[in-house]
């Protein structure tokens, strides 16, 4: 059974790229347009195995999303991967403190993303 990954990003193309890459690597991918959408979709679902999220998003940003996810007992240990850029070091540290599992710095290629996802999904 393939693992389910949620990609959270307000950019359609990034979502598509992540969905496409991870889909090609055999994962099932669902999309969310921002943190709020992600939390809604996560709900009490226990079928989602991992989140891949952007930091800057309207409505609810990446840090708040991490906090929101970790606040739920059900999703306390779910891996959360951040998509960051070099200039977002402070935000990254905040997200890490909030419970983000790891990060990948943009731009990245498909292989790097798949490697990191595999590492976190062990």
């Amino acid at each position: 059974m393939s693992k389910v990954i949620m990609t959270v990003d307000d950019s359609t193309s990034i979502r598509q790229m992540v969905a496409f890459t991870l889909g090609g690597a055999g994962y099932q991918v669902i999309e969310a347009v921002d943190g709020k959408d992600a939390l809604d979709k996560l709900g009490d679902s226990s079928t989602i195995d991992m989140l891949v999220t952007d930091l800057n998003m309207p409505n609810l940003d990446g840090i708040e999303l991490v906090k929101g996810v970790r606040a739920q007992q059900r999703h306390k240990f779910i891996p959360i991967l951040l998509l960051t850029t070099e200039s977002q070091e402070t935000k990254k540290q905040q997200a890490k403190a909030a419970g983000a599992s790891g990060w990948i710095v943009k731009p990245f290629n498909a292989n790097q993303l798949i490697d990191v996802v595999r590492k976190l999904l062990k």
């Binding site: 496409f20 055999g26 306390k76 419970g99 790891g102 498909a110 790097q112 798949i114 976190l120 062990k122």
Partner: protein, 705 residues
Amino acid sequence: MMDRNQQAFIEEARDLLSGLEDSLLEIEHDPLNSELVGKIFRAMHTIKGASSMFGFDAIASFTHDIETAFDAVREGVVAVTPQLVSMTLASRDHISALLSSAESEVEPDLELTSAGDELLKRFRELVPQTPPGKTDTGSPHDVKQMMPETNQRAALYRIHFKPPENILLRGLDPMNLIQELAAMGEERHVVHSEETSPDESRADLCHSVYDVLLSTSHPLESLQDVFIFVEEDSELRIEKLADASACDKDVWQRLIEAMQASKGVPTSVLISMIKEAHQIHQRVRNESSTYGGAGGQHPDLKSAQSIKVPSERLDKLVNLVGELVTVQARLTQAAVNLSDPSLTQIAEEVEALISELRDNAMSIRMVPIGTTFGRFKRLVRDLSAELGKEIQLVTEGEDTELDKTVIERLGDPLVHMIRNSIDHGIELPAQREQVGKARAGTIRLSASHSGTSVKISISDDGAGFDTEAIRLKAVMQGMIDPDATPTEQELLSIVFAPGFSTAKEVTSVSGRGVGMDVVHRSIEELGGQIEVSNSPGKGATITLKLPLTLAIIEGLLVKVGSELFVLPLASIKECVELPALEQRRGKGGQLINVRGEIIPYVRLRDFFGITGETSTYEYVVITEIDGRRCGFAVDAVLGEHQIVIKSLGLMYKDVEGISGATVLGDGTVALIIDIPPLIAVAVRERERLVRFETIAGDDSRNKRN
């Protein structure tokens, strides 16, 4: 679950590969064309980039090194050589094969993977390694993944890892990280708990400290990468303890015990434990080698038991031993002449020692033939694929040892014979099924010792030789008379005649204008013989009989007038007296009747134009090569000798019928007769003479001018 995009990528990649092939074939003739170099580089770059984006990791990582190579070509660091072009062509084929396996959604099989690894190895040898980070593929992490540094020496590391308290709350499991380390090599670890009593209510906090021993050939950075998301918040120390080879199981056990005993055992203590163990080990080893003890069984020592020596030194050694054999023969001769018992005894001892020394020196040059067999697997695979045939190659007797010079010169003839089997022997799968054979044909390549020679046979279960087709073709090419009734063996030997081929159409495999005559010639040069056995419809076997070594042969010493000659003993069947009656028959057809069999013979006296007193009796040495007998008339047969072959030097290298010379015990020189060419020359000579006699009506008996 191939999606539409992946399908599109495969199509695009196929187009790129086809264009790539054209560019490569073009650049071979125009190696300085930078536009072509750019085109090849871009094709590789696109394939690599796209395949990685679409999840075809195997293709991406394979293509990476070839792209690197052409980047180096662009920068002028590496030149476009035929070698590079053929390697890249092979890579192109490999990528194509990877695409096919991706398309059919099967994992590339082991054969394909190892073929790829082999290619990459050759590329890495050819191209200076690009330092990590210089490539445009992204982070060093990525580059390392693609080019595992296999040549990195293994080392033993100690990893001390105290994860951040909240590691579990970040969705990370420290045990996963330890397992990631374990996947890199041999790993053992000890887990300690923090002294501060863990808060019972907070089971989601981590208070463990991990102490890991890891023996790996991965570089330090790979080890650090494992902890990439936690290193900022962890206590992490990775320290190299020793080269991994320095530690056996005992040492591991002692290290682990020390680490279990106390949480913070200093790394320096562990290092000194290893050194101590190493020193003891060393001492034991020295003692055992001094006293010839059982310590020699240690695996480390075993590798030290063989050493590499440049082959020239071996050749030199064999040459010197050859000289020694010659001098020893003279010593023996002198001892006999002087009939001094003490000298005779010394001569005999020296003889025994030298013969042992000779055997030893010869055995050093012996190489297992398996090294040559290896390259045929690829040949069979490529060619059978090209011809749409299914063929498996079975090899036997890879351990059979032969003189390295023989092996080196055996490669090409074997390639040719195997090609011949693939091309003309094994039928197409459909044809095979029709006649009730398995779809896949088998080519069996085997080697075995047989006395002082080695037999190598190439047999296939194909159609066999069509002797009728051979006859027709031979008649067509004017090689035999239409009315002649050659035996099957004679027809088969025509296959080895210059310019003969029965292929119905010229294929790219065998029809290259090089016939089996080249095989025949090479084997003859090696002093070997060829036998063909044929069962039409079931297959054919070609057997090569080769001498173990080229440097020393067993020979029969014969005398003509005052000249001495050596005939290789391996080809000699018997010696018979030449009846006076037969002698007189002489001219034109020199034939001897040996127990009812009529055998042609060459009178060496006539052939070499030797004058001087003739002996009352002449003898004929009967030889047999490739099933054909021929005699040599001589004045006297002197006996068998171990002959050290000396070349005659460049001046005489084209003399037909003489393969070299040897120096005898008394210092005289004897020429070594190369039987097949000598027969060929004699036949030619006789035909010329007969023609001359017919035209001029000359009855002269003077056969040489």
